[in-house]
Amino acid sequence: MTARTSTLCVALAALLAASPALADDNSVTIGMILPMTGPSASTGKQEKAGAELYLQQHGDTVAGKTIVLAVKDDTGAADVTKRLAQDLVANDHAAALMGFGLTPLALAAAPIATEAKVPEIVTAAATASITEKSPFIVRTSFTLPQASAPMAQWALNNGVKKVVTIVTDYGPGVDAEKWFGETFEKGGGTIVERIRAPLKNPDFAPFLQRVADDKPDAVFVFVPSGFGSVFMKQFVERGLDKAGVKLIGTGDVTDDDQLADIGDAALGAVTAHHYSAAHDSPENKAFVAAFEKANAGMRPNFMAVAAYDGMDLVYRALEKTKGDASGPALLAAMKGMSWTSPRGPVSIDPETRDIVQNIYVRKVEKTDGALYNVEFATIPDVKDPYKAGKH
């Protein structure tokens, strides 16, 4: 113990007192909690860029209110997410919380959303059950059942009879496995083997060997955003593509953010997802062009578009409430909202608060020298089948 300690205490106290500048009456703070560092940093980067692009395009004023976007890094740790959510609600008087890179992070904030009556807009985490954890959770990303069930339907219609599924062993992966498997078996297909790979160990080689031994028609895969390139490379290294095993999955594995890194190994992979940077619509062309201009060297992926739409949802809700930023009013305005997103027509299901959107079946192709998920079939207005089954 030295005098240094007391000097430090004074300095710390000053920092503590100085930290959050309180927003004035006319401003509406949106607290965006994302993993900006750590293994899921790519998600955070895309989400932040998407939200900031929206602000840049639409200005920070809506319905007479000034929007303040406060981005916080939770490093992917649930207890930090929770603390940041508490801070944002209690100190910054955030009118809405947004972001949440992984399922446990979205769940961590749920009790705060409920208790403080603040909408929690999930723009990333995709386990189906998340929206049930608080009546204040709204989602603009997607759910795994939403993408997996249509994928199974497509496989059935295209002569695929035997499938091995490989998913990452956590909430979303289990969802993907369950909904692909059930839909596929109900339609007369056979799941030869269900493989779950640990989340922390992104080495798929031993699992892919098992796939090779099973000799299926196709392998269905889900890996979290950011893990796709490892999987695809090992898939080709094992020679599974040459053995005639089709690669199908949810769009996470051919993530737009990583497609260039994966390279030609990805060619021919068929996936079902809600967004591709190659989606053919004027809204998307404008979105992609603006995004690439604002973020040199980056291509927007489904995370970016979900954050962009999250901001859009807040703006539209504020317009509808004429600037009333209280939680219940915003939530009521968000329920049933429908608009045209870069990904196509979307709406918020008033009953489940989850997003209703088109699911596209895409194939990785080379257009203009770059790899893209090129959409070739559309399943319109897909509700999350997990919750639809309950109602």
Partner: protein, 338 residues
Amino acid sequence: MSGASSAVARRIEAHLARRRRWRAIEIVFWLAALGTILAFPSRAALINEIVIAGLFALSLDLILGLAGIVSLGQAAFLGVGAYAAAILASKDLGDPTLGLAVGALAAGALGFVTAPLLLRGADLARLMVTLGVSLMLGELANRSAWLTGGADGLNFSMSPVLGLFPIGFTGQRNAALYSFVVLFVLFALARRLRQSPFGLALAAIRENRLRAGALGIATGWRIVAIYTVSAAYAGAAGALLAQTTQIVSLDLFDFHRSADGLLMLIIGGAGYLYGGIIGAAMFIVLRDVISAATPEYWEFWIGLLLVALVLVGRERLRDIVLSRAALVWPKAAGRGAA
């Protein structure tokens, strides 16, 4: 002959008694810490995080600072303590104080069981062993999803402390005070431990284990004992973290938790017990301020600060502060480092 040795014993006893006394500056430190919680209710959640991280860094100081044992796996005990408290709470079993005790005991038991692994081999082997234990436990928690919630984590609600003080979203200051009281009690215990004959024996082991053994100190048992205590401290930190945030997830076992704890301890200085707490406060407040300004690149600035700290040397920084302090408050500065 016996007169001379008893005179030496008396002198040693007097010396120890003197060291046991709380200095004015220490009392000021704890009052200031308490005052901070009371003065900034809106920052209670952040302060709570600091207090818990401080306790975690203190647990590292017990092994690194007192006994010279390096570990990269302290997160194992943080995780075990947190999950024990969380599972108890999710089954609606008892008061937070019970969960705290169970968390600390569970982690302590694990520390006791794994401590013999540390007795063989040198620093590098210890780093690997401790790291390996935390990796194994993380995977175990992942596999036991029926109990731990697996990768989705475990959400639960907490009953009020002693049935009186709610520590949820509406009781953030209570939570910070609860953690603070626990930190203080455990700190006082650790302080007493450091100045006991046991603490002196540890210091001998730290300086030269071979020689300490030759002096008749049972080095193996002492290492097992301090490692167990340290594990229990980390478990208590984990239990507090679980109870005050009411969520646990697998990242509790992550390597970065151990590394951050070590960082905090190094920033604050190992060996005098306050280092971990001061380091935790500096690390977390700086992270909060810098990451609010630049959420992507805050790690760069923390890294830069660390490099600067090591290059300039903490001693020189302290000398600068002390020489300044001596101008305004000669007496306090004169007392020097504990």
